[in-house]
Symmetry: C2
Subunit: 232 residues, 2 copies
DNA sequence: AATCAAATCTGATAAATATCAACATATATA
DNA sequence: TATATATGTTGATATTTATCAGATTTGATT
């Protein structure tokens, strides 16, 4: 599903304007408006495919997407979750002609795709834009690396607590939220087995740390959850 | 230990010229030559400190350095090894005023330090330079992330095999080499306990996969080691 | 409504890893 | 040289995690 018009249609008024495109002049913004496409992806739909040719820069406007890869053994691994206003696929876009990861919608998504050559041209001709882009890339990859490093030395309970806090604090900014991914996907995201994800979630519920109602999760004991996240 | 002269003294003739600084013109190269400092760090010496103010861009010319961080629990973690011609500290330099990691020499090192403002200025004024830098950053962080992801889903034997292969193939390009880091550091690098590192190395020796003589390691059975690296 | 497939869940057990203790060996320091 | 201190090593044991098996629930499709 894809179409060429975005609400407002002007990149100058887009929320990305203030972050990544703040250093473009009016002419450059017009170029951007003319070249970009505005797209939809339903939950489960693939936005970009690992190994596929990079066509452009993908900016997520609405919804959530997961970044995944199939590792050499054929096991699927989720690298991270992209949230609105994220510049998705940042990590590999300058080092390869092909996507290193899959980008898959886990909620209905709206995203923009900006032509690759146009951005490259902007980098060459607008140094301040290049600088902003460098900062943003650095931020995103730094954050991702930090998250992976944090996760690596936690054990299972700590990892599950971490991911619950992540969705509550970073994504939904609420102690009650709809878990957008399955138990299997949680397992793939924090490197554990489905059975153990289930087990530990049940454990948290039994200990009155969280409530689970269908896909809804409510954090009841924030203190205890944070403690487990750090020490568990 | 630090001094201002580098062998040849001209950045135009430096090995980094061909990678990162290939797009600078002569005037810009002269600026670079004038502003950079050339430094030594003995084994064990700290080149940059986590939390410390970023003064410049660090380029490793000779030797090996480890990138480490102290995680919130106070446990030391090694993120990666920097090899000659690496642009060290890439990940955080554009997203923070402070180093996110320690950079510590694990062999005697020679490195250049290029003034932060100078590089920032070059980015603004030379789009092609900015593009090259983006590519390099993307490459390095992509590689690092890939390595961490690979490591995460291996178990201990596979991780130890991985790190031996890494030093043999990527760093020393020889099946015999002096292990530059201690057992403890290996443990910190691949997220395991010292005892298990020792145990598995002994196991590999007992199974005639490697020979260990002091700090020297020789890979005897490359086939078997690679198998363990992938399937172990 | 009936049926199938996938996801969720629980318990029992096996395998992997961490911890603890003890000692040997090297390396630095007084 | 003697002494302390970190590193390396091995075995026994406890803890954590994965695996296997089976049951229940959920959701989609006919």
């Amino acid at each position: 599903m894809s179409q060429n018009v975005c609400p407002g249609n002007m990149c100058a008024e887009c929320s990305f304007r203030s972050s990544i495109f703040s250093k473009l002049n009016n002419a450059q913004l017009d170029e951007l408006t003319a070249s970009k496409t505005f797209n939809f992806a339903k939950k489960g739909e693939i936005i970009a495919k690992q190994g596929g040719k990079i066509k452009g820069f993908i900016f997520l406007r609405v919804g959530l997407a997961k970044l995944t890869r199939v590792n050499p053994d054929g096991r699927e691994q989720i690298i991270g979750i992209a949230t609105p206003n994220d510049f998705v696929g940042l990590l590999s876009i300058f080092s390869s002609k092909n996507y290193q990861y899959n980008i898959i919608a886990i909620e209905d998504c709206e995203y923009c795709c900006v032509d690759y050559d146009l951005v490259m041209n902007l980098i060459s001709t607008n140094g301040d834009f290049a600088k902003t882009l460098l900062e943003k890339i650095s931020q995103v990859s730094d954050l991702m690396m930090g998250t992976r490093l944090d996760l690596e030395l936690r054990q299972l309970r700590g990892r599950v607590a971490f991911i619950i806090c992540y969705f509550a604090n970073e994504v939904y900014k609420s102690t009650t939220f709809n878990l957008p991914i399955s138990r299997r996907e949680i397992a793939e995201l924090i490197d554990m087995r489905v059975e153990n994800v289930v087990r530990i979630l049940s454990e948290f519920r039994r200990d009155n740390i969280i409530k689970i109602e269908g896909t809804t999760i409510e954090i009841v004991d924030q203190e205890k959850l944070r403690w487990i996240k750090i020490h568990g």
